[in-house]
Amino acid sequence: MFTNTLFLLSAALTIGGAFAVVYSENLMHACIFLLASFFGVAGLYACIGADFLAATQLVVYAGGVVILMLFAIMLTGGTANNFNRFGLEKIAAMGNKKTYFMAGITAVVSSLVLLKIIANVLRNQSSAALEANLPTVERIGTVLATDHILAFEISSVLLLGALIGAAVISRPRTEKND
């Protein structure tokens, strides 16, 4: 009963947020709707007992990626002679009829492909009762520390590369006379 309510709320938040991202004309608002969508996905994770993933979704997306995006929007907002590129006035580059037409075609084509796959999956869906939820943190930790230890270590190299790369790219150029 409660699980269904939680699932419905999360699903509504997820899909509603995603649609709002599509239709929002304001980049800042799109970012806020994206936050709502991430929240809903966290709820969906919680519904299938993936509690650690739900918390990770909150920590990494709601706390990290969204803030990063908000900062990036503020940093690319406007130039000295062109204020208000985002915000109350419509942002300059949010797309036009032609791009929406193209997007619609792409969406229809990819959804046809995907629906075919999903239909195949659903035809063979087992209707067995769901197993009870087990705590995931310990299992994830055990697997991360044994079977997937290489992936664990390599992810730190990936993060190191991302940190150094992004820091080098976005670092303001120092003046030559400094």
């Binding site: 990290g64 310990e138 993060l159 940190l163």
Partner: protein
């Protein structure tokens, strides 16, 4: 291993609903009884009595982004570290603590090298010119 019921998430949903209720309720209640007579001057942004010039939504310094960048990398690192840290005690008890300690060490040290790189390159300095000219104030004497 013990299973858990999804009912444990009830308080979370109830508390979020209560937060919306408290905030919305107090605003609605206030809306019924508080005065509402706005004028043009009241609705301008506060700039110490001056008329605001331009919009506040201008460009910001890149250093904010670099800070957020280092933050998100360490945030993700912590997300990966939490489950490993949670099983460390168990692994230690069955005698596998050494290998886990080694992997945790290498994981953290690889990331720390990134922090050291940013430190050396001056990304962690808020004001870069501060260090280059510290004697300005004392030169006058």
């Amino acid at each position: 291993m013990s299973t858990f019921n999804l009912d444990v998430y009830m308080p979370v949903v109830i508390l979020i609903a209560l937060a919306l209720l408290v905030a919305g309720g107090s605003l609605l209640l206030g809306g019924l009884i508080r005065p509402h007579n706005p004028n043009k001057l009241k609705e301008t942004a506060y700039e110490c009595g001056e008329e605001p010039v331009g919009s506040a939504w201008a460009n910001f310094n890149v250093r904010f982004y670099v800070i957020a960048l280092i933050f998100i990398i360490f945030d993700v690192e912590s997300a990966l570290m939490f489950p490993v840290a949670a099983v460390f005690k168990k692994f230690n008890q069955i005698g596998l603590g050494g290998t886990l300690l080694l992997s945790v060490f290498s994981f953290v040290l690889i990331l720390v090298s990134g922090l050291i790189y940013c430190w050396k390159k001056g990304d962690l300095d808020w004001v870069k010119s501060f260090n280059s000219q510290p004697q300005l104030a004392t030169k006058d004497k």
